[in-house]
């Protein structure tokens, strides 16, 4: 057994089945701890009052929206280069959750912007590039849905994902490159954190919760895709017989 063992769909199907309960459990645990910190440990913000507590879902959702996209682009590139089946399946399994987090980043941003800026929405670089990310996710999912030939769909989707990846650095650096209402990065690796330590810890714990949630749902989704694509193989037939 080596690293490549799990690039085979049958092995990955069984491995992911074993991992899903752990990821689900960890997601619930981290969410519970994260929510407790968010509402009962982290202090009131001296500028924004209690409204800032939206940060504990807004920032993790925004991170995940970009991170999931990069992971999809990674799998797309691997799939295009090496024609590995699992890579394309992973990309397909991740996309809906990426779109969900992008929507949530925009939604919670609007509900934070309204009391702080006085507007649900402004056409500013950060918000607009994040909206483009949502359109990219939706476009990629629609492209897959429109192409019946699985292999062609995989490759077309991967190509669109890779082209769209240019948007990720634009989102990330938009608050630096353009004048914006949006505040700067919450965490800067080069500087000491400017926010209260408990706020920072709450945000990180919630980010881990989002991470484990993503792993759990993406693995659940990929198992369905594996069954669908490997339906002619004996091991899938054996699994279905037991249903």
């Amino acid at each position: 057994m080596n690293l490549y063992t799990f690039s085979s769909p049958v092995n990955f199907y069984h491995l992911s089945g074993k991992l899903i309960p752990w990821f689900t459990g960890l997601a619930i645990l981290f969410t519970a701890v994260g929510l407790y910190i968010s509402f009962f440990v982290a202090p009131t913000d001296f500028q924004q009052g209690e409204a800032y507590r939206i940060i504990f879902i807004h920032v993790p959702a925004a991170w995940m929206s970009m991170f999931i996209y990069l992971v999809m682009a990674f799998w797309g590139a691997i799939g295009l280069a090496f024609n590995t089946r699992m890579s394309f399946m992973m990309a397909r399994a991740l996309a809906p959750t990426g779109a969900l987090f992008t929507f949530l980043a925009l939604w919670t941003g609007a509900w934070w912007g309204k009391p702080m800026w006085g507007a649900w929405w402004v056409w500013d670089a950060r918000l607009t590039s994040e909206l483009i990310l949502l359109f990219l996710y939706v476009g990629i999912i629609a492209l897959w849905a429109a192409i019946d030939d699985v292999k062609r769909g995989d490759r077309a989707g991967a190509l669109l994902t890779l082209i769209g990846a240019i948007n990720i650095p634009i989102i990330y650096f938009s608050v630096k490159w353009w004048n914006t209402l949006h505040q700067g990065a919450s965490i800067n690796l080069m500087k000491a954190p400017t926010m209260a330590k408990t706020m920072l810890i709450g945000m990180l714990v919630m980010a881990f919760a989002a991470w484990f949630y993503t792993l759990a749902v993406a693995f659940m989704r990929v198992r369905g895709i594996i069954l669908e694509r490997e339906r002619q193989s004996e091991w899938v037939k054996a699994i279905l017989e037991k249903d």
């Binding site: 509402f39 009962f40 202090p43 009131t44 009052g49 209690e50 409204a51 507590r53 939206i54 879902i57 807004h58 959702a61 809906p96 959750t97 969900l100 929507f103 949530l104 939604w107 919670t108 509900w111 934070w112 309204k114 009391p115 949630y213 749902v217 659940m220 989704r221 198992r223 369905g224 069954l227 669908e228 339906r231 899938v236 037939k237 279905l240 017989e241 249903d243």
Partner: protein, 63 residues
Amino acid sequence: MEWASWSEFWSMGGYGLYVWGSYGATLLAILIEVMFMQRTSKDTRRRLKRMQQWDLSSSGEAQ
């Protein structure tokens, strides 16, 4: 503990609508995704099983 009472907690210093509008939407979105996904995977398995049985019965007739 930050809050003197539950009503103070729910009002979020006057920002209750925005805070709970954000957390509520997140909870709803996650519930929808999980429910939708479970239904899809159940449908997939059922459909594949039907296809398989159909294959078996048609190959049986051919013999």
